[in-house]
Amino acid sequence: MKEKKISFTPEKLWSIAVFAFFAWFIFSFLLFPNLNTIVSVFYQDGHFTTEVFTKLINSEKAMRSLRNSLILAPSLSLTVGFVGISLVLITEYFDIKGANILRLGYMTTLIYGGIILVSGYKFIYGKTGILTSLFVKIFPNFPIDWFEGYWAVLFVMTFACTSNHMIFLRNAMRSVDFQTVEAAQNMGASQFRILTRVVFPVLTPSLMAVTILTFITGLSATSAPLLVGGRDFQTITPMILTFANNISSRPLAALLALFLGVATILLLTIMIQIEKRGHYMSISKVKTTIVKQKIRNPVLNVLAHVYAYFLFLIYVVPVSLVVLFSFTDSATIASKKLTLSSFTLQNYIAIFQKASSYKPFMVSICYSAIAASIAAVIVLVACRILQKRKDRLSGAMEYGLLIPWLLPTTLMALGLITTYNTPRPWMLNKVLTGTSIIMLIGYVIIKIPFTLRMTKAAFFSLDDSLEDAARNMGAKPFYTFMRVQLPIILPTVLAIFALNFNGLLGDYDMSVFMYHPLNKPLGVYIKSLTDSETNADNAALTFVYAVLMMIISAIVMYLVYGRGNKIDKSKD
């Protein structure tokens, strides 16, 4: 019998400390506050009740919205998958003329989204949209409300949700080894066969990760159904938001959120199982970057170009119109009729003249940058653990960190502020509600699942032999991590940072409950300025702020990701 010696090497102590940290973090920020919220559904006035359940089951609207969400999520995963893969093939794999410009166009979704994006689409396809007006001129009986309902929502969201493909799938495409492609060519494989047998397998881990993201986005769709869903295609999240704001209806919100949560858990469990089964590693040890493939069949080649530029138009026209209309007033935006006289710089002048308009930008930039950094560090450590140990403990940790995906942001924010408005022993009896730190915590936790999922995909595509080699040469684990593994996954980590930063920059759902009176973040500030309940010129201001945020987001994307890519390239 082997005798186990219990010895506390520094390494062991370190790992205990790390696990203790994660246990505390998950319990106090992810588990406890949300459990608090969920328990409130079934325990009212001290006893168990299923009244909420009955109410929802009997509501035709709730059930229809739920069904719509459950239809949207899988269908969106398919369409976004298709478009996303074709974007990556167009820009990175096939030899398409003007790929650099096409890529910029396809990447516009990285800097804008939500209500603004959907509004942009409505400028084209909506009742008064450019395309609709054109159709009506040609066919006078053309229905002006053609762009409404399920297909409209699916269309808008398909093109709105390819951001992750443009980053993560593109990164994966670059790690396809060209030598293998060449070898396959020499063996006489057709282009199609090379794609399906050589290229796609390398993309699979990233593709699975981004598909999960798309599915979750589809489940929690808000702006697109609100704006183009019409009467027939409303989804569940807007309903959750309404109920969450109504104190006595909050249990309804929590229960609806639980329905979505269960769907997400099912999906995640399946995905994690699949991932455990297959080990994805790059095929070659000595990588050669890809040489773009010319499509040999001339007809297909022309068709591919037409398709590429058609997609480009779909992407670029809405965002151009948003920028254009930001120079007009609300009346013009409502009527969508542009004349030369409707242009004005007044919107921008008004914002830049007011000193108080700068501060929210600064506050949000600081909070978002710090939160995105903390999330990145926490997740890097977590991924390192997940990669090294595949036991129950690390499994529990992974599921724990994914909790924020199960609940809408609003409910998590409420959970946090109602949990920490009294002293809790595990928080050293400090009250967090009302301090400037609680919003930071909120920002960090809503970004953890996404960060974890994408970083993990990057870790899984790491070549184990590199680490082995470093260890054989006597490098310590920490040194190996810092000098060998981190540099390889750094582009991905930075890209995630940029996406998280951009996502948090205009956050409203979390911020509104948590911000410190002295530090009003951008999302809350914009909302108060542009709320149609209180402000007449709201539509124009919304567009102006959207454009300003696009500029910041684009700069961050360029600094963090664009430059990172260049460094990456120069190394090749």
Binding site: M239, L518, S532, E533, A536
Partner: protein, 367 residues
């Protein structure tokens, strides 16, 4: 006289500056307060410079900046935290055990009642309470009225004559000519929409009905949503009214927002004056239970609700003051609004049931 008031002002300003410098250095506000209370002849509606956190849903169109500046002139140092009515309410509830706000203003009676029930307000009857018309203040002294807002059914006189226009809310769903001609809001969190619903539902009050409303009332609500057009995010009512492609020609609006919109959209607003009267949303002010600055909060409430300040507020933001001594400072449009007959609404019934009503509407009637 002039000299004295000027000296007072300079004194207050100096104190405010000194205090803010102190707080900036991290000194506790109580020490600043002690320093101030030694100067005894401070009138009760001048501030001492202790920083107050003020929550409000009425901070837009530059109201926050105006308030901060105007209050500073009278020695108050205030921070304004603005958010929608429901968000403000949620925040106050969440912070119940560790309140951050000292004073809240702008909310309506429905929300005040719920805050009062949650023990979030501190009763205090301000000096100007007698200057408010009967029925607008809380009889228990928890909140007091500052601004009156008429909730109107509006249309554009350029498109519709008063004869053609709806005379009362039920016209919308009982007369075929208004089918698909009016806008309803899909979100029920706003103060205006809740007042509209309350104004319709209380007509059908029935103690034996579901949630205190007769079946006839619920049928009316069902018809209201059946014949209306849902609002479109990002486009407000006036945007719909002026749009060629939208069938919408009328909808709900609160009175002090009308002037800016007429300016913005080139409309000329007309409004229905129903026989039962129009619902008035009354914006009030209250002190938060648990504030560490009770005395300063009281001074602020006395100052803010006074005829002088409410009159200036009315001039700056086209509001209709609740304070009878300030009504004369309101503009012509608001003078006209002030003469509209008020609908008799059982606010206790509304406050008790509005959340449940909205929930029922969301679940059963909203398409």
């Amino acid at each position: 006289m002039k000299k004295i008031s000027r000296r007072c002002f300079i004194q207050a300003a100096a104190l405010a500056a000194a205090t803010s410098a102190l707080t900036a250095c991290g000194a506790s506000s109580s020490s600043a307060q002690a320093a101030v209370s030694s100067t005894s002849d401070m009138p009760s509606n001048k501030g001492t410079g202790v920083t107050l956190n003020i929550y409000t849903n009425s901070e837009t169109d530059g109201r926050d900046a105006w308030l901060i500046e105007r209050a500073a002139q009278d020695g108050f140092s205030v921070q304004v935290v603005g958010a929608g009515a429901a968000d403000t309410q949620n925040r106050l509830l969440a912070e119940k055990s560790a309140p951050i706000a000292d004073v809240v203003f702008g909310l309506n009676a429905i929300i005040w009642e719920s805050l009062k029930a949650e023990d979030i307000l501190l009763p205090y009857v301000p000096e100007w309470a007698d200057e408010i018309p009967a029925g607008l203040n809380d009889p228990d002294g928890y909140y007091h009225a500052i601004v009156k807002q008429a909730i109107l059914l509006v249309y554009d006189l350029n498109q519709m004559s008063p004869e053609e226009a709806p005379k009362d809310w039920p016209d919308l769903w009982t007369k075929p000519e208004f089918d698909q001609k009016y806008e309803y809001l899909t979100g029920l969190g706003g103060g205006t929409v809740r007042n509209v619903l309350a104004g319709i539902l209380v007509r059908y009050a029935d103690p034996n009905g579901d949630l205190g409303i007769s079946q006839e009332g619920w049928d009316a609500i069902a018809e209201y949503y059946k014949h209306g057009v849902p609002n479109e995010s990002g486009v407000d009512l006036y945007g719909q009214i002026v749009s060629d492609t939208s069938t919408v020609v009328c909808g709900q609006m609160w009175s002090s927002g009308i002037e800016t919109r007429d300016e913005q959209y080139g409309t000329k607003t007309g409004y229905a004056v129903p026989d039962v009267g129009v619902p008035y949303a009354v914006e009030g002010v209250a002190i938060v239970n648990g504030t560490k600055n009770v005395d300063e909060a009281k001074r602020f409430v006395n100052w803010f609700g006074s005829a002088q300040i409410q009159g200036e507020w009315a001039k700056a933001f086209s509001t209709l003051p609740a304070n009878t001594n300030a009504v004369s400072m309101a503009n012509e449009f608001n003078q006209e609004i002030s003469k509209l007959p008020a609908q008799q609404i059982d606010w206790a019934l509304v406050a008790k049931n509005i959340d449940a009503w909205c929930e029922k509407i969301m679940l059963e009637y909203m398409p």
